[in-house]
């Protein structure tokens, strides 16, 4: 008797949606084991990580606040991932958007009123899209890998923002901290729920989910992206232009990440610092995959990922564990997802004798 993989006649739709749940459950179990291995009571750890952060209304608002950038970035990345355009540099595009929006905020006039956050959002989108245009151009013109180029631009963006807040944009009254001055109130996003930090960007993110659905399901370019993802050969045969796909995917992803960056500086931070990004750009890649590259899935996955972020902070305060434990769980989540996804296309079967050796050997 041996276990072997057997191809399903058709990919299993049930498994496609069950697999993120399996991955989340396995991550939770993995979390219990990690807490136990670290000599903490696993259930205390679990409570601190997954329950305490959302015990009250304020906690729930914090969850939605953390989910906002993840949702925005992931929904922008999803169309590209569906068409096999690998924009891995959303982190850099997020920073570029945050920088562009901060530039507007720092030079805004009080007389602008409500136009300030609008101009900041547009600047954020433009900044992110411009940063993503570099890999798009280099890919379509010179065939340079968009994975590596967009990644390198993450580091360059980080050095750029570091230079700005250490140099020209440093708050002269900021006790030499590497940060800009706090933005004027007019440059901040309006709060949605009084008494919390949840702001208008959350509504924007929900709107982006709807827009993404319409785009992918109802527009011609969305159709092209879906076809290209299923079969590159079919897309070529149909005459769908590849450069268009790369430009579209990267610009949309960059603009969305840029707006997320704007929402961070115009929301919870209220200023630009070196550590504006908080790894959102990479976590959003996981969100996009766990969310099956679909709007509803991304909504749920971003909440789960936001919980991991908040749990990480709790783990630091309550359990005395470094908050980077959240990143370990994020990685685990993606591992388990990729593993569980095998069962979308395959099933396990016991086979007798040597006639059918395990397929994967």
């Amino acid at each position: 008797m041996a276990l072997s993989f057997e191809a399903r006649a058709e990919p299993s739709t049930a498994m496609r949606w069950a697999s993120p749940l399996v991955a989340a459950a396995l991550t939770a179990i993995g979390g219990l084991l990690v807490f136990a291995a670290l000599g903490r009571d696993p259930f205390d750890g679990f409570r601190a990580f997954f329950v305490n952060p959302v015990r009250d209304l304020y906690g729930l608002a914090e969850l939605l606040l953390k989910a906002t950038p993840l949702m925005l970035i992931a929904v922008g990345l999803a169309p590209g991932f569906r068409a096999n355009v690998w924009n891995i540099g959303a982190e850099g595009q997020f920073i570029a958007g945050a920088v562009a929006a901060s530039g507007v905020a720092l030079h805004a006039d009080a007389a602008w009123g409500v136009a300030t956050p609008v101009a900041m959002a547009l600047a954020g989108a433009a900044g992110g899209a411009a940063w993503a245009a570099i890999p798009a151009w280099l890919r379509t013109r010179f065939h340079a890998s968009e994975i590596l180029v967009s990644l390198m631009l993450v580091y360059i963006a980080q050095f750029g923002v570091s230079w700005l807040v250490h140099g020209p944009w440093k708050d002269p009254e900021g006790f030499n901290f590497p940060q800009t001055r706090m933005f004027a109130d007019a440059a901040l996003l309006p709060i949605l729920a009084p008494g919390t930090r949840l702001n208008a960007a959350f509504a924007l993110a929900l709107a982006a989910l709807v827009a993404a659905y319409v785009l992918m399901q109802r527009s011609f370019i969305g159709f092209q992206m879906r076809v290209a993802g299923e079969s590159a050969a079919a897309a070529r045969y149909a005459g769908f232009a590849e450069p268009r796909r790369f430009w579209f995917a990267l610009l949309v992803g960059g603009a969305a990440a840029g707006v997320a960056g704007m929402a961070e500086v115009a929301g919870p931070m209220g200023q630009l610092t070196e550590h504006v990004s908080n790894n959102y750009g990479f976590a959003a890649i996981i969100v996009a995959f766990v969310g099956r590259l679909q709007p509803i899935g991304i909504l749920l996955a971003s909440l789960l990922m936001a919980l991991l972020y908040l749990g990480g902070e709790q783990a630091q305060q309550v359990l005395g564990l470094p908050s980077s434990i959240a990143k370990v769980f994020q990685g685990m989540l993606l591992f388990f997802l990729l593993g569980a996804d095998v069962f979308v296309g395959y099933r396990l079967r016991w086979t007798r004798g040597v006639a059918a050796a395990p397929a994967a050997r």
Partner: protein, 309 residues
């Protein structure tokens, strides 16, 4: 420029290029078998903290290097199980490995943050080390020589051995290699583990020999640059080695600026960003000729394979 400055720049370039050379040579072997492992960054980070912790507690740099190698291989095993046994998407699996590895290293390294080790002794090669200027190349820490030996061994293996031929054949066409009886998955496992071990070694070289300290941002993109180097070298080992030292030179640009005696006001962030910008420039220069890429890249690179399924 005086000879001592030249020698010190040479030595610094060599030391900065060695982790890139180690990681990129390992990735080259992995990719030659048709497996694209984008997890180098995370693997290097885990290798760096494992090596640092081992060296810290044992007091031995050799133990540190070995721990880095073992941790790198363990990371690669994780990737191999996903991408080879389960035939999951290699790009996504590699990214997962990088995100996980960077997080794991940050988590495990919390208590060692900013700790330093004593600087490991250099190994003088008698005779050669006394050469003018170039002598600096032969007065280095032992992993530098190990990287040269690894280079020689990889070249001999890939191009002069039967097993190396099998590995390259699998990289070109796993189905054909399977048909004539090669154990495709087993050989890909071996190639992936070797690549991971080399990346782990590269990481531990950074933390135990080169800096020698641990900080969360220690690897900061070197794993990704190593991946780009393999493309830059169009999958040829000699070019990997040359490219690694070129990038090593770019990484210590600050030293050049000081050594040149120029009085220029360049923001340090700009100099730090240079290697990443250079990576983009080089990638563009190489990739603009798709025919050369197609000619040299393993034909099955990144494509999952289930022989017999």
């Amino acid at each position: 420029m005086s000879e001592t400055i030249l020698a010190s720049i040479l030595a610094a370039t060599l030391a900065a290029g060695t982790p890139l050379a180690l990681a990129a040579l390992g990735e080259l072997v992995t990719e030659k078998s048709g497996v694209l492992n984008l997890g180098t960054e995370g693997t290097m980070a885990v290798g760096a903290i494992a090596g640092f912790a081992a060296a810290w507690h044992s007091g031995s740099t050799v133990v540190g290097a070995l721990a880095g190698i073992a941790a790198g291989a363990a990371m690669a095993l994780l990737f191999a199980f996903l991408a080879l046994t389960l035939a999951a998407n290699q790009v996504a699996s590699g990214l997962a490995l990088s995100i996980f590895g960077v997080g794991l290293a940050a988590f495990a390294g919390r208590r060692y943050e900013s700790a330093t080790l004593p600087v490991a002794a250099r190994l003088r090669i008698p005779g050669l080390a006394d050469l003018p200027a170039a002598g600096a190349l032969f007065d280095a820490q032992w992993p530098v020589y190990a990287s040269w030996l690894a280079y020689a061994a990889i070249v001999a293996f890939l191009y002069r051995s039967r097993a190396g031929l099998a590995l390259r054949a699998i990289g070109e066409s796993p189905q054909a290699a399977h048909a004539i009886g090669y154990p495709v998955i087993r050989i890909r496992y071996a190639a992936t583990l070797f690549g991971g071990a080399m990346a782990g070694f590269a990481g531990s070289f950074l933390s135990v020999f080169h800096t020698p300290l641990w900080s969360e941002g220690l690897v900061s993109g070197r794993g990704w640059i190593a991946l780009a180097l393999v493309v830059f070298a169009t999958w040829r080992p000699a070019r990997v080695l040359v490219g690694a030292y070129l990038f090593g030179g770019v990484m210590i640009a600050q030293l050049f600026v000081q050594g040149s005696g120029w009085r220029v006001e360049v923001p340090s962030q700009l100099l730090s960003a240079l290697p990443y910008a250079a990576t983009i420039v080089v990638l563009v220069a190489i990739s603009r000729n798709p025919a050369a890429i197609r000619l040299h890249s393993p034909a099955s690179l990144g494509k999952p394979c289930r022989p017999g399924a």
